[in-house]
């Protein structure tokens, strides 16, 4: 519906923001339900929450005329309603249909977000959903409800779902109570929440009915319908804390039971076993959306949604302020040299004050962009569940450091690479349950995802306890593909890096999951694009670990300005370990590479002018070396001059320069000079690869 899209760009943005919030909640709830299936129970609250999510999304999409999304949500809602009313049993087959539907919704919404046209809901998917819904199912009788000792008005205020939950509780031979409480109007939501929380630990809260208190302006009453296996005295004691009273309700169901005790479970929610039924070949092609990236706000009530573009604008303004400050400092320098000392003291004082404020402002804006890594973890959890089910493998996902914060844009860019790494770990790393049993290990494999801050970097580790990387197989493949010469002797550390070469893949069949052209080289490039690095370690028979090192943020950084062959470059201070001056005679040549002895270690050198193929060799005895490092790799960059430190704002160079190794962007130096910012990780990679003669 084209008109809907023209209503106003802002309205559509509101739709997207709210739709994505609903999606995130659906994702979390489906995750809980899915975990529940493994242990054989289905949490009615999560199911109801998923139902409400689909219902809300349907209404929202309908309002904007997005018929495809509305259609899919409507069908999901039907299925979910049947599920929560007990008309359809929840099993892994239905669960898969729900998961696929959620993925399809995510893709459709994302398409809209990227300005694409809305696509119609997929017919095969809709058919799969509808096939799950049967119209036959227990019809509940009204007579059971009428025999309960509840006022008719309360029964009438129960929605169809609440009625169903009431009857379920009765079927399970639980005791039904009515709890009456009176609260002050000012605090009733907290008071009620406390009461229902303690009730929920002992049974199910079926419905809460408000009515006018003794004084309408200051108090409010609630009648709570509660189902539990506990007896009346226990429940009465429980609610007495909130000054509430409890009474029996299901007197009509025979003698009032003191304890429901050994109840005859009438019709429990049936859960099929955990392995999926083999899938037919003409199944719906769910559009593969890759990692679901989404624009999210944590909770509606306490946060403000901010358009990420506005944050970028703010950062630009802060950047300009930083430049202005640099200019002022420069003027101060010039004045000092020209001898205006009194006025100068005031100027410098003002400049210092400005610098302090700028630092605070910069810090504040950067903090807005920071998001806890835990958000990424939620998405990965879903992927692990899905893939391990598809592959018939049993995998536990252990998460650490979910609070570690990372710049939102960086997080979005590594979602896909992280997902591929995890897919690889499940696909190639973790063995099938039988294989694991045969080698005397636990059937369930484990993937450990942990994040932590290390200096000005964030490290994300993905560790699996699978079969590890078979180095011989890797070397053989590399030789086969002509990536290394046949008689090359490589250390284990070098061999394991071979997996990052383009064109490398040890899979004989292109599996849909990790094949299709997404190799580790793409993963490495994507991570490098945000100035990150990825390393791999592996022990055969024990497992592998991928370590991703990322800068905390890409915005304003302190840099060391250096020059070589007359050109200026910026090195991020976070990667600079030290700068030293050596004599040209200190430089040794080992196997055609230049190195120096730095304390006890040998430090490889890289002459920057040769790296960038600039003219102008330096012919002096004294040489400046900037020692840089990322993760645990070290390199000494030989430069001609050290120009000092400065705050700079890194701007990207755009797609044309994406493939250029060693450069992560450009920066304004303030006096209308623009210089390139060096990507230390990239330079180290290039230098140690041996691909260029340095």
């Amino acid at each position: 519906m084209a008109e809907a899209n023209d209503i106003s760009g802002k309205a559509v943005k509101d739709f997207l923001a709210e739709a994505e919030e609903i999606l995130d909640q659906l994702c979390a709830d489906l995750g809980i339900m899915s975990d529940g299936i493994d242990t054989g129970e289905c949490d009615p609250d999560s199911l109801n929450s998923v139902f409400r999510g689909a219902h809300s999304l349907k209404g929202l999409a309908g309002m904007f005329g997005f018929a495809g999304i509305q259609d899919l949500a409507h069908n999901m809602e039907n299925l979910l309603d049947s599920l929560r009313l007990g008309k359809v049993d929840l099993g892994s087959h239905v669960m898969n249909v729900l998961m696929d539907s959620l993925e399809a919704l995510g893709t459709m919404i994302r398409n809209l977000g990227e300005g694409g046209a809305e696509e119609p809901a997929l017919q095969p998917l809709l058919k799969r959903i509808n096939d799950c819904v049967t119209n036959s199912g227990g019809l509940e009788s009204d007579s059971v409800l009428a025999s309960l000792d509840i006022p008719a008005s309360m029964i009438n205020a129960l929605t169809e779902y609440e009625e169903h939950r009431l009857l379920e509780n009765i079927k399970k031979s639980r005791n039904i109570f009515s709890v009456l409480a009176s609260f002050s109007l000012a605090t009733f939501d907290q008071d009620l929440a406390e009461l229902t929380d303690s009730l929920k630990k002992n049974g199910e809260v079926i419905s809460t009915l408000p009515s006018v208190g003794s004084n309408m302006e200051s108090s409010i009453d609630f009648e709570i319908l509660f189902g539990s296996a506990k007896g009346l005295e226990e429940v009465a004691a429980l609610v007495a804390e909130a000054n509430a009273t409890a009474r029996w309700v299901n007197a009509g169901a025979g003698t009032p039971r003191k304890t429901a005790g050994e109840a005859v479970a009438a019709k429990p929610l049936v859960i099929e076993d955990a392995f999926p039924v083999p899938v037919e070949t003409d199944e719906a092609q769910v559009p593969s959306g890759g990692a679901e990236t989404g624009i999210t706000a944590k909770s509606m009530s306490r946060t403000v949604r901010v358009d990420i573009g506005k944050l970028d604008d703010l950062m630009n303004i802060v950047g300009e302020l930083v430049l202005s400050h640099s200019t002022i400092s420069d003027i101060g320098e010039k004045m000092r040299k020209a001898g205006y000392s009194t006025m100068l003291a005031e100027l410098l004082k003002a400049a210092k004050g400005l610098e302090r404020k700028l630092n605070e402002l910069q810090k504040g804006v950067m903090e807005i962009r920071m998001i806890p890594v835990g958000q990424l973890y939620e998405k990965m959890g879903r992927i692990v569940r899905k893939i391990s089910k598809e592959q018939g493998k049993k995998v536990d996902l252990r998460l650490f450091g979910a609070d570690t914060e990372l710049d939102k844009l960086i997080m979005e860019d590594i979602a896909d690479p992280l997902m591929h790494i995890i897919r690889n770990a499940i696909d190639h790393g973790i063995e099938s349950p039988e294989e694991r049993r045969n080698s005397g290990r636990s059937e369930r494999g484990a993937i450990r995802l942990s994040s932590y801050q290390k200096g000005n970097h964030v490290v994300i580790e993905v560790e699996d306890d699978g079969r590890g990387i078979d180095l011989d197989k890797v070397k053989r493949k590399a030789i086969e593909k002509g990536l290394i010469p046949p008689n090359d002797t490589l250390t284990d550390r070098e061999a394991v890096e071979l997996i990052f070469l383009p064109g490398f893949s040890t899979s004989d069949k292109v599996s849909e999951i990790s094949g299709r052209g997404v190799g580790m080289d793409v993963v490495k490039n994507n991570i490098a694009a945000v100035s990150g690095m990825v390393d791999v370690e592996s022990v055969p028979g024990q497992g592998s670990r991928m370590t991703i090192t990322l800068p905390i943020t890409l915005a304003i950084i302190k840099a060391l300005i250096i020059s070589t062959a007359g050109r200026y470059y910026a090195l991020p201070i976070t990667s600079v370990l030290e700068s030293i001056m050596i004599e040209s005679t200190d430089i040794l040549t080992v196997e055609r590479k230049e190195v120096i002895q730095l304390r006890e270690n040998t430090l490889p050198l890289l002459r920057l002018n040769r790296f960038f193929q600039l003219n102008g060799e330096q012919e002096s005895e004294n040489v400046f070396v900037v020692v840089v490092g990322v993760a645990d790799k070290r390199l000494g960059i030989v430069v001609h001059e050290l120009m000092g430190q400065q705050d700079i704002v890194i701007k990207t160079l755009g797609p044309v320069f994406e493939g250029v190794r060693g450069v992560s962007g450009a920066a304004d130096l303030g006096d209308q000079r623009t210089i390139l910012v060096l990507d230390v990780g990239g330079i180290i990679s290039e230098a140690t690869k041996g691909g260029c003669q340095v």
Partner: protein, 125 residues
């Protein structure tokens, strides 16, 4: 000035409703983002018309209707239900409990305006 309470938990939907109402005449809108908020507002604010969604997380619309109809002040206040397609049983219950009208999403702005004028009328600006 006539005042209308809109109880709806979806922020986007709520702002559309508010915009529609304000555009149709001289009405002041009181917003509630949840059933609980409505319960807090009703004793304090005087409203002439109540519009509520049924599907809300804390208390559902039916329970709100029950509350409203049992109170002295709002016993006879006009009340509209907003629902989505396929929830007819709940709409029926709402009407039985005392709601006057119901609207199905996607709301037709003209119909909403017509109903508002019919029940609490005020000549539009």
């Amino acid at each position: 000035m006539r005042r209308i309470l809109v109880t709806e938990d979806s922020a986007t939907m709520r702002s559309l409703l508010v915009a529609t109402i304000e555009a149709s005449g001289d009405y002041e809108v009181v917003e509630a983002a949840s059933g609980f908020e409505a319960l807090r507002l009703l004793p304090r604010e005087r409203v002439d018309l109540i519009i509520t969604d049924i599907n809300m997380p804390d208390i559902n619309g039916l329970e709100l209707i029950n509350y409203v109809r049992k109170s002295e002040t709002y016993r006879n206040t006009p009340l509209f239900i907003i629902s989505t397609e396929g929830r007819e049983k709940d709409v029926e219950k709402g009407l039985t409990l005392g709601a006057n009208e119901y609207l199905v999403k996607p709301i037709d702005p003209a119909r909403l305006q017509e109903l508002i004028r019919k029940y609490i009328g005020t000549a539009p600006n």
